[in-house]
């Protein structure tokens, strides 16, 4: 009950501090590992989950005003990634695992994700890996609903 109250109160007493600072920004990367093998047997390297398109036409942007489920899910995954660093929970891990797995072809490999945070140091944008998940069988993630 206390947890529910703590989730509800910020909605009726919001802080409205949008973009107070531009904090390090998370990206989710994943890789597939052959079953029963160590991480050295990864199939290929780390790949960015849902890379954004190179270009988007104005018409597409305007269509997104009405219909944008994939992008909104991607923003939710950004929230999960931030929560996982600020207050680690199995909920955030499960949400990321299932939603990344949902878009992958079925396979017998294990899925592992990591969180890479981008930030600016001086004039350079730097990447820092802040979290690596425990590999989970893809089939196990894909059999249940997200």
């Amino acid at each position: 009950m206390l947890r529910l109250i703590s989730l509800f109160l910020p909605t009726v007493f919001p802080s409205w501090r949008f973009f107070k600072t531009v904090a390090p920004s998370p990206r989710i990367e994943y890789r597939l590992i052959e079953p029963g093998q160590s991480e050295a047997y990864a199939v290929g390297g780390w790949q960015e989950d849902r890379p954004r398109p190179q270009h988007l036409r104005l018409g597409q942007m305007l269509r997104w005003m009405l219909w944008n489920p994939q992008w909104n899910e991607q923003l939710y995954l950004v929230s999960c990634a931030e929560r996982l660093i600020e207050a680690p929970s199995q909920h955030s891990i499960d949400e990321i695992n299932r939603r990344v797995a949902r878009l992958l072809p079925q396979g017998s490999q294990a899925l592992q994700f990591r969180l890479v945070f981008l930030s600016r140091e001086g004039a350079q944008v730097v990447k820092l890996v802040e979290y690596e998940s425990t590999p989970v069988l893809l089939a196990q993630l894909q059999e249940g609903p997200a």
Partner: protein, 239 residues
């Protein structure tokens, strides 16, 4: 009716609530359909979103009195629990804030308390712009334009890689950044005049539209619009 007369018109509390409910029905139905379109939802999630769609239908058609509002508030709580917080950040918070204020307005024993509930929403809406401007203007990185540059350069929000190129347009970003900061800071002053308020709300809607185009924040556009009738009523009632 001339344009100026139209812009000067206020709303009664009942009219404001009616408009908010109609706009909410659209905004929440849009959110629910987006969730259902993702597929592979657990049965309990599917049930929540289908029930929200039905409640939106009731809200839009004016069926069931306050029950659709209370039902949407209850299912909003269930979603906060399901996602352990908002699914879509500030837009979900605004959805719950509007539903909470409307729910209280219906529960209010007297007109006075009904007006208090609507006033709270109106004040929070004005604060959503002012506080957002204030936290930027006190930050040297926003004042210099480098914060907005970082938003385009490496944040998760730009909807395409090509938009990241805007990070190199420093003068443009400086102007855009200051335009947003000043607009947000002076927004509450628009409450002093009904025409100024309507024009400010039009400008604010344009701001949300640009955020939706650049950063894919479509839900913010629709849900902030839902709260505007409360502010139009508030301005007419107080000033």
């Amino acid at each position: 009716m001339s344009g100026a007369l139209f812009l000067e018109r206020g709303l009664t509390a009942a009219q404001a609530m009616g408009w908010m409910q109609l706009l909410l029905a659209f905004a929440i139905a849009q959110q629910s359909l987006e969730h259902l379109a993702l597929g592979a939802l657990a049965l309990r999630d599917r049930m929540i979103f289908v029930s929200r769609l039905l409640l939106c239908l009731g809200l839009a058609l004016g069926l069931g009195g306050p029950w659709p509002v209370w039902g949407l508030w209850g299912s909003g709580l269930a979603l906060l629990w399901r996602y352990q917080g908002p699914y879509n950040g500030g837009s979900d918070k605004m959805t719950m804030l509007i539903l909470s204020c409307l729910s209280l307005a219906y529960l209010a024993p007297t007109i006075f308390w009904q007006e208090m509930a609507l006033s709270y929403l109106a004040v929070q809406l004005a604060l959503s712009y002012f506080v957002s401007g204030w936290v930027k203007v006190i930050n040297p990185e926003w004042r210099s334009g480098s914060a907005l540059r970082d938003v385009f350069r490496f944040s998760a929000y730009p909807v395409s890689e090509a938009l990241r190129g805007l990070a190199e347009r420093q003068r443009l970003l400086w102007i855009m950044g200051w335009a947003v900061i000043l607009f947000e800071l002076v927004f509450p002053l628009a409450l002093l005049n009904p025409i100024a308020l309507k024009l400010a709300l039009l400008g604010a809607a344009g701001f949300h539209l640009s955020n939706a185009c650049f950063f894919g924040l479509n839900r913010f556009f629709w849900i902030w619009l839902c709260a505007y009738p409360a502010l139009i009523w508030f301005q007419d009632r107080i000033f």
